[in-house]
């Protein structure tokens, strides 16, 4: 039997094969040597899509039930605007997460846009007080920026331990300060840091200790080991 050897994988091939079937994808069927990682990703993507479709059915049911109840008991669409808007926001957020998670920055921007849209609608449903532009928009924007920064820093960290906790605490602190700043500007027109200073005084030393433990003493590098889970 005249056998030739594949240069890549080393198997012997008889005359039937012009090219090695192991090292070359088959045109008629799926690739014969698909990397398992690709199959794994495909399986997960399929499961995520089914979960998204199911969530759509659940959300739509919630919307319909809420509207019907409002119409039934009040004869008009009033209070149901809030839960219906919230449900739409949940479903849009899930859609963004399922389909756009491979592009984290775009996902974050779209989630921010969705959240701002929901808050704007809440403000429009009862426009006696305009709170969207002076408070909701800046605080929400700060929240998303901080969340993005925390996730980005954590992803870049070689060891994800106490340093992640510390960064999260610092982000919470900045958020509290920004809430007080924008709330004060809206209510009084001037900024007086009071309660957020108390939060800072409580949180920042803890964050500093966690950073010291992580970087200086090299402890708490893995939260699961530290907490014995």
């Amino acid at each position: 039997m005249g056998l030739t050897k594949c240069d890549k994988c080393g198997v012997l091939l008889d005359e039937r094969f012009d090219i090695c079937p192991l090292c070359t994808p088959d045109e008629n069927t799926e690739k014969t040597s698909v990397r398992t990682g690709e199959v794994l990703r495909a399986a997960r993507a399929e499961a995520a899509k089914y979960a998204w479709e199911l969530s759509g059915i659940v959300c739509l049911s919630g919307v319909v039930i809420t509207l019907l109840l409002n119409l039934l008991f009040d004869g008009t669409v009033s209070w149901s605007l809030y839960p219906v808007t919230s449900i739409f926001w949940v479903w849009i957020s899930l859609t963004v997460i399922v389909f756009i998670r491979r592009w984290p920055f775009m996902m974050l921007m779209m989630l921010l846009a969705g959240t701002l849209g929901m808050l704007l609608l809440f403000n429009l449903f009862d426009s006696r007080i305009n709170w969207f532009i002076p408070v909701a928009m800046p605080v929400t924007t700060v929240l998303f920026i901080l969340a993005g920064l925390v996730v980005h820093i954590s992803a870049r960290a070689r060891y994800k331990g106490f340093n992640v906790l510390a960064v999260s605490l610092i982000a919470v602190n900045i958020l509290c300060v920004s809430i007080e700043v924008f709330a004060d500007l809206n209510l009084t027109g001037t900024v007086t840091i009071r309660w957020s200073a108390v939060v800072s005084a409580a949180i920042l030393p803890i964050a500093a200790v966690l950073m010291f433990l992580h970087y200086r003493l090299k402890r708490g590098r893995r939260l699961d080991s530290f907490f014995h889970i």
């Binding site: 056998l3 012997l12 192991l22 990682g37 893995r222 080991s225």
Partner: protein, 429 residues
């Protein structure tokens, strides 16, 4: 057509439950921890593709309970039969990679080939080393038969032309579970190697070959088995590594997990999982142990823990939990989380290292004369254990394969240097 005993009479069902050892894996598999192991046969000659491809078809048909995929149920995962056959892949640098869960396009084992080596990779959900070896032996028989190098089925090979016996796919853990005996106690957590993790892809191997005659002679000289000798060497090297650390980091126990094949003990013919672990240990708080002390400790601990009555207690502990009604009715989402915590607390947290010795691989001489050696690559270890060791002997060759996700190679090098100091020749491949 294979059917679950519990589903007798329902012709539309082709599924069965995970055995006790397999149940934990769906909860903890992820990232680098794939639970995939490899057994390799290195032949004397290059592999002929067509003969191997045909052999795979026959072997896969002989073992239909391996042609399964893992599916989600409401209370736990289960194995569902699929028509897909295992795939044949060329070998790649990244080995023991994960299998997709729930995919009907790929079963949970594969065959890998490179030059003269045929390897089978299985995920521990469907079988252990014993079961995988039986598949490999049948595959090799069919392969050599296709090459006209053998015509009569040797003894000790599963006949590809007969239907599988239901005993081959029974859950022996459940069969030999005895709820009237007390469960064994849980030991304290063990120390773990303070090595840094590799960059991804993390898993890499170091393979060494030694003369099995030399190591057998050395073990006999010391009045221990080869497994006990290797475990003692492993513990001695771990002890040396830990004694290089500050004192506060070596207050504790180092423990090596050693799988024991229970098939012979219970006369089971199952080819699904049926192994348990014995865990010889050294308590470093007592001071530094001489190698002779370590040998004694390991020898007596292994003998004690492999006593059938002690093994029964371990089976009682492992299987008892799954039989409780309250556990069975917890939905899979919650149960998965609980099992993952349980595993990392009582499972992987309890051992410092793992050593799997398959012993002398029993392949009939009609096939064995075409095989150079056999090796086992253990599954990628988790982030606590970091380094594991697989040992297999065939003929005069013993292959030691270290699997590691750590940057440092101090354990592997220390182990091999120890063997060299003992006068055992080591060849690193």
């Amino acid at each position: 057509m294979m059917m679950s005993r519990e589903k007798k009479g329902r012709d539309d069902t082709d599924w069965f439950r995970l055995d006790n050892a397999a149940k934990i894996y769906p909860a903890v598999i992820g990232g680098d921890f794939t639970a995939v192991f490899r057994i390799s046969a290195i032949l004397m000659e290059d592999i002929v593709y067509s003969a191997l491809a045909d052999a795979i078809t026959v072997a896969a048909t002989r073992f239909p309970y391996f042609n399964v995929t893992l599916s989600n149920g409401l209370f736990w995962y289960y194995l569902e039969k699929v028509d897909t056959k295992p795939r044949l892949y060329p070998d790649e640098p990244e080995i023991c990679t994960a299998f997709p869960i729930g995919s009907k396009r790929e079963v949970m084992y594969r065959i890998i080939v490179k030059e003269k080596t045929i390897s089978v990779e299985f995920v521990h959900i469907i079988t252990d080393g014993g079961g995988a070896l039986e598949f490999l032996k049948t595959l090799l028989y069919e392969y050599f038969r296709n090459l006209s190098k053998i015509d009569v089925l040797p003894s000790g090979i599963c006949d590809p032309s007969v239907e599988p016996d239901p005993e081959e796919y029974e859950d022996s853990f459940s069969k030999y579970f005895n709820k009237r005996i007390p469960a064994t106690e849980n030991p304290k957590p063990a120390l773990h190697l303070p090595f840094r993790l590799n960059n991804r892809p993390r898993f890499r191997t170091m393979v060494a070959e030694i003369d099995s005659g030399e190591i057998n002679a050395r073990a006999k000289e010391l009045n221990v088995s080869v497994t006990e000798y290797l475990v003692a060497v492993y513990l001695a090297v771990l002890q040396d590594l830990f004694y290089k650390l500050p004192e506060r980091k070596r207050r504790g126990v180092i423990r090596v997990q050693v799988p024991v094949n229970l098939r012979r003990l219970y006369g089971s013919r199952t080819l699904r999982n049926f192994s348990l672990f014995v865990v010889p240990e050294l308590d470093l708080r007592l001071g530094m142990f001489a190698f002779s002390d370590i040998l004694d400790t390991v020898h007596h601990m292994v003998r004690l823990e492999t006593h059938p009555l002690r093994i029964s207690r371990i089976i009682r502990r492992n299987v008892g939990g799954e039989k409780l009604f309250i556990i069975r009715v917890i939905p899979v989402i919650i149960k998965r989380l609980i099992l993952a915590i349980f595993y990392y607390t009582f499972g992987s947290g309890l051992c410092t290292g793992v050593l799997t010795n398959m012993g002398r691989i029993d392949i009939p001489p009609e096939i064995g004369k075409y095989i150079d050696c056999v090796a086992i690559t253990p599954p990628p270890p988790n982030k606590k254990v970091k380094v594991s060791c697989g040992v297999a002997s065939f003929g005069s060759k013993m292959r030691i394969t270290f699997g590691s996700i750590a940057e440092e190679q101090n354990l592997e090098k220390g182990f091999l240097r120890f063997l060299l100091k003992e006068g055992i020749g080591v060849r690193i491949l």
